[in-house]
Subunit: 193 residues, 2 copies
């Protein structure tokens, strides 16, 4: 159970505590193409990717997909808006590969916050990090050229640059796949000259 390893490594949670928390966790396998969350459902879990790869995306009024986030191994992903406000989600979360996912329920979080001061600060750390991520994304969308955004994508997700199809990266960056293709060509030429 990779998530519990993660907990023990990062938080030095005792074995007894781990045992007490286990009932609030579920490990679930998802096949490639299956959904962790669908638009219109209320999100119930924070998902931790033990193994595999997952994307979260929205569909716009024209039926176009816009990728909000990727979550490779050891990342968290979730629609916090939906969990927090018990609203229907606007997003899909879908497995891009066969994946093993840890479903972290609200009860788990409540219990863990209660038991462990360390978990409290860890939870805050996660929230803070999420904010940094999102703020950085906004910064890039507002201030940076497509080229810069692509370069910083490769920094953020180096493993993914080769693994996921290019049209998904384009969707994440907010451009048409053809445009990304042209940018990559330019970058190649720059690199040579």
């Amino acid at each position: 159970m990779y998530f519990l390893e993660y907990l023990q490594r990062n938080l030095s949670v005792s074995k007894e505590d781990v045992e007490r928390l286990k009932p609030y966790l579920t490990e679930k396998k998802y096949e490639k193409g299956s959904y962790l969350l669908r638009e219109g459902e209320v999100c119930e879990y924070i998902f931790y990717v033990n193994h595999g790869l997952v994307k979260m995306y929205a569909i716009d009024e024209f039926g176009k997909e816009h990728i909000i986030q990727f979550a490779p191994e050891a990342w968290f992903i979730s629609d916090r808006a939906s969990i927090y406000k018990k609203e229907k989600s606007k997003y899909f979360i879908e497995a891009l590969e066969d994946s093993s996912i840890m479903l972290i329920s609200e009860q788990f979080i409540a219990k863990a916050l209660e038991i462990s001061a360390e978990y409290r600060s860890h939870n805050e750390h996660l929230l803070q990090n999420h904010i940094l991520q999102l703020q950085n994304r906004i910064h890039l969308l507002l201030c940076a050229s497509l080229e810069q955004r692509y370069l910083s994508f490769m920094e953020l997700y180096p493993e993914l640059t080769l693994k996921v199809p290019q049209w998904m990266i384009a969707s994440y960056l907010g451009v048409a796949p053809e445009s990304l293709s042209r940018i990559r060509k330019e970058l190649k030429n720059k690199g040579q000259s």
Copy 2:
């Protein structure tokens, strides 16, 4: 002291606790056009707007301003990335009107977290809300047309639609002021017909 009112109203913090926390707070007046934070400085505070109006923005490589957030009365604003990681900020925070700002130091937050379980959940609430805001912004930037973004700006900041100059709204939306002007014209025509 409006922020303390806010605390007492939202958190039923006792008077004694308020007294204990006061030393970690500063109220400061900022004149229109003065800076709460400059690019390159490390942000030390969460700012709470007792009264007035404030904007946070970045300057891109061409010298263009991009507004990340507005904070009217009773809003919080800060560069959490800078506070949290003790990094130099990429942002400016500037008063758009003469403003009264509460400077909330990290010591304040640490103390309050220690003293009050209620403050802990309040703090989490703030972080969650910030995430919702940011995620919504990203959603709009990726999925929505300029027109939709403008409409949802007016929903989010109804007071500001008239108060702040249009070119700032354009900057917030990520377009040229001329483009926003044309969109507004279209909206007017639609409304009539």
